[in-house]
Amino acid sequence: MQTFIEQLPVVIGALNVGFLQTLKLFAVTLLGAFPLGLIIAFGTLSKIRAISLITQFIIWIIRGTPLMIQLLIVYYFPGLVLHNPIWGGGEQGRFTAAAIAFVINYACYFSEIYRGGIQSVPIGQTEAGLVLGMTRRQIFFHVTLLQMIKRIVPPISNEIITLVKDTALARIIALQEIIWAGQAFMKGSHGISGAIWPLFFTAFYYLVFNGIVTVLLAKFERKLDYFR
């Protein structure tokens, strides 16, 4: 039987590996969902009715069903239904599948926030730009974009903080993120079994991570305080 002091570095090492996977999923989701969300938002605002209706339908499906089901479907559908297991069996394949499900899911949530942001910038701002001879592109980038960002930072911040915890859902397709790593010590791993205390450490990782994210977002929000 090892002492706690002997087990601690082993557990921390394993949790760090798991946390890296959590962090990677978090970062890839944001990098993918920020731009995809904007495209979807423009889709719902499209003057072409078919495009607008189709994107609204997709958003309804994605927001109306649990992310966990979407993860399972993205991961198992190609293998079980199409008989084409494109993800393979490895950790890389699980990560790709998880990332795709997360990006699509969060993009739909972001798109609704973007749409609200775009629509909340008064039309007079665009008209003032037009009358001064600006192009539509210049008006978007130099006039409306920052006003829109200012309005969406608080709701987007909420989503980002939720995402920190949502990454744990990838556990359902056995992605080896930090909860998977912590749980392994209950079943038995690295010669340690029946230990629940690593899970408390896991929770601590989330708390610290969320704390840092919250502080950074609040800082960014304050940066935009200089105008109304």
Partner: protein, 257 residues
């Protein structure tokens, strides 16, 4: 030759005909006041002149150049319109300053972006800045250039909006009820700036409910009612000797205030 010639402008929203054939002319250096009750189509007319609305019919000519002829759709493409609308400036009732820029940046933004769009080599930013600073001096806000719009009063914001329009050197500067969103004690400072412009022979179209001001500043007055020009003439004629019954009724609502 008049600077501006407007012929038979018509505009319909859905089933409501808002402009039913508007014709007028404006001489260089003249100030045209448009008066009329709310809903008579004054804003829509200014928006048509600034290409924010597309009229259904009509011709707009500036300095002899036909800017818009609704019977020739080729005059109405987006990129062409962007150049043409620079003949006009528009000061909105609600100012519409850009909140994330300082007063000075608000005034300088459009010329800077225009020079980028036109790929101007060796763009002289310092010349633009000194021109902007002169404009701020002329509107009495030299000490407020570094302020953001929310740090300015409504009257100050509207004066900045006027400077922002002036720096584009429009042939015709339009005002849509420039003092209607202001507290009464702030209207004077804005009217004073516009009065100053008219003394410098700036060609202007002013939609206003300030009758006394309209009478003083205007070289020509138009009274609009339900989408038509009901009466027009010099301020003496329209204000002191209106011919039309509707003009008399409209003016009587303002005479005792």
């Amino acid at each position: 030759m008049p600077v501006l010639e407007v012929r038979n402008i018509r505009k319909t929203f859905g089933k409501t005909e808002v402009l039913k054939g508007i014709d007028f002319m404006l001489e260089k250096g003249g100030a045209l006041s448009i008066i009329g009750s709310s809903g008579s189509g004054k804003t829509t007319l200014l928006r048509c002149l600034n290409f924010l609305e597309r009229p259904d019919a009509g011709v707009i000519t500036v300095n002899g150049e036909t800017l818009l002829d609704c019977s020739k759709p080729s005059t109405m493409s987006e990129s062409q319109i962007r150049k043409k609308r620079l003949h006009f400036g528009l000061v909105f009732q609600s100012f519409n300053l850009f909140p994330q820029y300082t007063a000075l940046e608000n005034v300088m933004l459009a010329p800077v972006l225009l020079s980028k769009e036109n790929h101007v080599k060796n763009f002289d930013r310092s010349a633009l800045k000194s021109e902007a600073e002169e404009l701020f001096a002329s509107i009495g806000l030299s000490d407020r250039m570094k302020n953001y719009p929310h740090q300015l009063s409504g009257g100050q914001q509207q004066r900045v909006a006027i400077a922002r329009a002036l720096i584009m050197h429009p042939d015709i500067l339009c005002f849509d009820e420039p003092t209607s969103a202001l507290d009464p004690e702030l209207t004077g400072e804005v009217l004073k700036v516009i009065r100053g412009l008219s003394e410098k022979n700036t060609t202007m179209i002013i939609v206003t409910h300030e009758m006394e001001f309209a009478r003083d500043v205007a070289s020509h007055v138009i009274f609009m009612d339900s989408g038509v020009i009901c009466e027009q003439g010099n301020p003496q004629e329209v204000f002191n000797h209106p011919k039309e019954e509707r003009t008399k009724q409209f003016l009587s609502r303002y005479s005792n205030s």
